[in-house]
Amino acid sequence: MPDILWTSALELSDALERGEVGSVEVTQAFIDRGDAVEGSIDAYLHATPERALEQAKGSDERRAHGETRSRLDGIPVAYKDIFCTRGTPTSAGSRILEGFVPPYDATVVARCETAGMPMLGKLNMDEFAMGSSTENSGFGPSKNPWDLERVPGGSSGGSTALVAAAGSPLAWGTETGGSVRQPASLCGLVGVKPTYGLVSRYGMIAFASSLDQAGPVARTVADAAALLHIAAGHDARDSTSIPHSVPDYLDGIDGGIDGMRIGIVKEFRGAEGTQPGVEGRVEEAYQRLEKLGATLEEVSLPSFEHGISAYYLIAPAEASSNLARYDGVRYGLRAQGDDIVRMMSRSRDEGFGDEVKRRIMLGTYALAAGYYEAYYGKAQKVRTLITRDFERAYENVDLIACPTSPTTAFELGERVADPLAMYLSDIFTVPANLAGNAAISVPCGTAPDDGLPVGLQLIARSLDEKTMFRAAYAFEKDLGWIDSPEGRPSL
């Protein structure tokens, strides 16, 4: 049995199946590693080692009787603290929800538990998933295992920090505008934004409901595909859940990309603000895809330049409505006030952090009488243009390739004082959220200018996760980075 911590989830699953190791031993190894690195990376908001070991014991007992519930039975997983977990505190990174204990499980959590996956705990995030660095967490930032002075990305930065440090083989994050792909890119991991509606949003604390989607974080493409398979599929408790049968993403994942047509986004080549080391690695990645048999074709997506403007009107508008529920009445923080309006207004001012207040204000403004058409209405029309750009491109190509993030991991504190600079971290990721497409970030090595990980993004048609995984898998295998010593942070 090789080192448990740096073995992929699927290889661990094979080792469990062969009886070389048990789930308790595997789970304990990740708990111990998490304990050892937590002081450096601050990934957890709430660890649940007892619950994990109890579930691991159950998995081993099942297997002893020749029974397993899924391909990942006995493989531990951790969750961004945005997923409700029955009996385990859930804060969404906000002081306003400090101490909140949900009375029910999110569908993602329930499906992973049913699949026999031990839960290691709940992970740090930007407050209500608003941010690109975890610095907006009400409980302090997480750190990037590649460089502890730098951010792990966000908002699912606790998830990527933990998996990058080998504190868990798998984790769940969520996306609204890139919050899985961007931190995965900054931490040298695989991050997936599934098609909108593929994974149930039930029990996922809402930020912007027309964009929110859960996504897996893993070290390898196949692990991410296996984890997505556990949770994907229709859920009657989410009215936006797509009634679509879920294919086996692992079946044919090693089929290669010979003859696949991949579009390179003209407008993103040499885009202002892209770090030269990122541009260089991603251009090399395109050449590698071509070497593997894909045909590269330049595609023009002219509306993408308006993606950030549209996103930062639509997402705050929906957030201002979703976050109206935090009023100090049914759960969460309550401040004193002698009438109900003062009580609510003070509770919200005390409980929410700066970025959340900024977005509530921005969203309320964009929806207010007199401004609605000029801001929210226009942004929704730009959303249509971006969707049409994608549709036109997919007439000629199977996938679209571009960088995931314009830069590698930035330093803690570097962008905190400049909200707009932080928003521009999402420039390459928001189009797929606005259009609902499936997208993945896969590592393509480290940037020569700073030695930090760079991510290649592959964007597929809606519900075409299989093509996306097949291409990412072929790329990952040929590059060989994740299995080499260079693919591991020195932490």
């Binding site: 002698d338 919200r348 403004y365 243009l385």
Partner: protein, 97 residues
């Protein structure tokens, strides 16, 4: 579209945020900066473009109207800052006559 101090006060009231003076001043500057970035889409000709509210075509999702167990009262109140007699307790809403 300039955002003045009155607009900030109005929006904060609508959003039920009891912002401090310092927060209001900072918010005015930051919102102006972010909205200026969004001005680019104001210039687009979008006359004949329909809006997209959701990326997937949605229809009303209906289900059978069946009675199923719901959250128990004590579970629903377990996270309440204040509860009384099986209900959420809040400060006075209606003034004395």
């Amino acid at each position: 579209m300039p955002i003045d101090r009155d607009a900030v006060d109005h929006i904060a009231r609508l959003a039920r945020l009891d912002l401090s003076e310092e927060e209001r001043t900072r918010m005015q500057e930051e919102l102006a900066q972010i909205l200026a970035h969004a001005e680019k889409i104001q210039a687009l000709d979008l006359e004949d473009v329909p809006p997209t509210s959701h990326s997937v075509p949605l229809r009303n999702v209906m289900r059978a109207d069946e009675v199923v167990p719901s959250l128990a009262v004590e579970d629903a109140l377990a996270n309440a800052p204040e509860a009384h007699d099986g209900r959420f307790k809040v400060p006075r809403i209606i003034e004395d006559a």
